[in-house]
């Protein structure tokens, strides 16, 4: 099982996710520079968090047009697993690998805190080590995480089982106060139609070490290891 982490100018969670991948998968990921036109042959591509190109135009908009993204799209089309975290999720929606868009948070401010998520499916390569409807605690840190899609798209992704995670309260209930950014249907993470691409605003790599106060992010990496080995 070999993973790659894409590094854009302005990525800043590339090292964090590389640490989690190396620790849990027992093998360091390849760090792939944005200007490389060709992705090496890997089983998993991670598009990390940060502020690619400063996010000055629109979060993820510039990165979605970088040379490496063309190669990531080709790999995704062939079934290579792709995980986009935070800015990575924004990039995947901008690149059209995932539907919808991530708008400015409802509160208009950057928010960094732990949130609770409900795991909607435990049968994908990203979540098989979780239980269905398990409530997990994972941090968010973003200004643009307010998921938006038109009603038809929302219906379609719900029907297809593409919703990966929803923001819930500690007990697992939907509650508008537990939705930190105003996302439509409290969507925190989303699959593509084949559940081979996952984008999510929360950072599983930030709670994957007991010294940092929690390990609810670990099963995601373990799931991928198990599925792709």
């Amino acid at each position: 099982m070999q993973a790659a982490v894409i590094v854009f100018p302005g990525s800043n969670c590339d090292r964090d996710v590389a640490v989690s991948l190396a620790h849990i998968m027992g093998r360091p990921p390849l760090m792939v520079w944005h200007r490389d036109a060709q992705l090496p042959k890997v089983d998993l591509v991670v598009v990390p968090g940060g502020f690619s190109y400063g996010d000055y135009l629109r979060s993820g908009a510039m990165a979605a047009h970088s040379p490496i993204l063309r190669s990531v799209k080709e790999a995704a089309a062939k079934g290579t697993r792709v995980l986009g975290i935070c800015n990575g999720f924004q990039i995947l929606t901008e690149a059209g690998l995932l539907p919808g868009a991530l708008m400015r948070n409802r509160g208009l401010k950057f928010v960094c805190k732990d949130v609770h998520l409900s795991v909607l499916r435990a049968d994908t390569d990203f979540t098989r080590r979780y239980r269905k409807h398990q409530v997990i605690r994972i941090p968010i840190a973003h200004a643009d995480g307010n998921f938006f899609a038109d009603d038809d798209t929302l219906e379609r992704i719900e029907d297809n089982g593409q919703v990966a995670f929803r923001y819930v309260d500690e007990a697992g209930n939907l509650d508008d106060r537990a939705n930190p950014n105003g996302s439509a249907r409290a969507i925190a993470g989303l699959y593509n139609e084949t559940a081979t691409v996952l984008g999510l605003m929360p950072h599983p790599e930030r709670l994957a070490d007991p010294a940092l106060g929690g390990t609810d992010g670990v099963p995601m990496f373990e799931s991928l290891l198990e599925a792709l080995s």
Partner: protein, 734 residues
Amino acid sequence: MSEAITPEIVKSHGLSEAEYARVIEIMGRQPNRTELGIFSVMWSEHCSYKSSKKWLKTLPTTAPWVICGPGENAGVIDIGQGLACIFKMESHNHPSFIEPYQGAATGVGGILRDVFTMGARPIANLNALRFGAPDHPKTRHLVAGVVAGIGGYGNCVGVPTVGGECNFHPAYNGNILVNAMTVGLAPADRIFYSAAAGVGNPVVYVGSKTGRDGIHGATMASAEFSADAEEKRPTVQVGDPFTEKLLIEACLELMATDAIVAIQDMGAAGLTSSSFEMASKGGLGIEMDLDRVPMRETGMTAYEIMLSESQERMLMVLKPGREDVARAVFEKWELDFAIVGHLTASGRMVLKRHGQVVADLPIDPLAKASPEYDRPWVMPKKAQPLDPLEVPALPALKALRTLLATPDLCSKRWIWEQYDHMVMGDTVARPGGDAAVVRLHGSNRALALTCDVTPRYCQADPYEGGKQAVAEAWRNLSAVGAKPMAVTDNLNFGNPEKPEIMGQIVEAIRGMGEACKALDFPVVSGNVSLYNETNGKAILPTPAIGAVGLLEDLERRAGIAFESAGLSILLVGETKGWLGASLYLREVVGREEGAPPPVDLALEKKNGEFVRKMIAANRIAACHDVADGGLLVAVAEMAMAGGIGATLLPSREVLLHAWAFGEDQGRYLIAASKANARAILTEADRANVKVETIGETGGDVLALSGGQAVSLIDLVAIHESWLPNFMAAPDRNA
């Protein structure tokens, strides 16, 4: 170039008549405008420390673990295992008042550069903020802008903002304080300094292009505000955190090679102060062709190029023949790279523009012989101690509820949730405790970090206040179990030309120095911000202290939360019930008077070392220093953090309100199992440290034995709601 320099032009450059006479003497002729501009920024208070230098020299700056004290871009200490910690705190007060978002953002950018210039990867940011009265019409706008600016910059750069402090007081209505601190790590044998070396070596400019922003920012920061402060908005720079992130990565990448001889960031006074400092420290001259400076705008004059404070720029001296290696790194990161000049043996700064020499100045007289003043000062009138009997006793738990919802004591979650405090994956103790704890990447060791000062104490008695600021920082580090290592200071005061303000500076530095000496806590870097006055009204004296401590083992540390019921609550230190200058007096009674609590440095040291020893012995379940608001507030904070209540047994010797809210110094609260509590008491007896049992954890209320109780949920709601409600309230000006 032959333009006459009139007294008006001299005055508009902030130079006194005597200083201008010095200029003529040094130059041996009348300077041209570019040269005058250079003198003006180099001799500004901001760059020259001319009013404070005499007193700063009295601070202790050495210890076996200090690698580099004040004088470089930041202080450097040895933290063992081949690692150095590089840190500094710096103010961006004036720009933040005029343009809060960009002012605060560029403050963060500047302090980050000070640290990575020396070869360190920044691993944490902190900030100390002071705003005016909550009901002042500008306060909310300033809070919102400053917090968003700090977050906007730090979050994008990807360095966690892990701690800080925030107070409100009407004395800051016209001059807010934004003090930013960065902490970085470098290999102890790979520290980069700014002294130029090697005649003929290339002088290289990297980073962003130079524009017309921020011209005379350093001079602005060295004068009082008048009512027209807003007109100075164009002197505030604009930050580009994305470029800063690239600059960090590019510099660190180049630093891993052997190409760099010396490096200096372009901060206040931009290209002028960076080039003069590098040349002066190396005893060399520089010849620069300003045509080669990457420029954002056309038609810039030499004056504008030299005085621009455009952000995200660095100046380096490279080894000969390494230009291409360096160029490749900066091109990879898509940053400007230009060889703008070379070192000479002349000891002079020679600047060319359009093929002509536009300035020719001696370096040392500007950089080293800047004016140093022994400004007249008077001993500040010190407030008299206040007898607790003269302070009305209000019901304790009702007063507690009031205090927890005051601007100074309320939860600052609204602020720190806007900061990414977890990026880099090593934030072990997040904001909200005594000190932030940041792990040394890939190890089991950590740094503890804090910022402290109590301006109301400094106002009442600058000497005791200066001592207390250092002691509280030392205490906050001790309370998490860390060995306090060193401090950086950020001295914020009013106009030093007024003897009573100068007296505050002198006395505060004396207090700080005594505390640093007694606690073995050297000052390794710092910054001075004077002229924090508007229309003649000065801020409270605010010598902010940023401090770093070392935790050798993450398993042996303490947090503030009560995590289980049935623990004994112990109080370390002497409680006399000191209510002078307390928050109880100000916020509950409505009086600002009395001397601040004195700090007994010997006792401080003994108590702190005892607490650290108990934490290292794993005898402590939770620990919190007793500070603002006193004992009851500290217990409430521990209870709220863990969601476990407590029952306390008030003292019989001290009046209840004085016991509950007195701010006697040198105290800690400890929660420990019954068995550990017994052992701690025995050890304390042996060490001659005063420790008493004052209660027990448990339940969902905070209760005073014998009746009164308040629900924890209620306290949390009160504590958490003040700041978000304040920020969300409808706009009064609308």
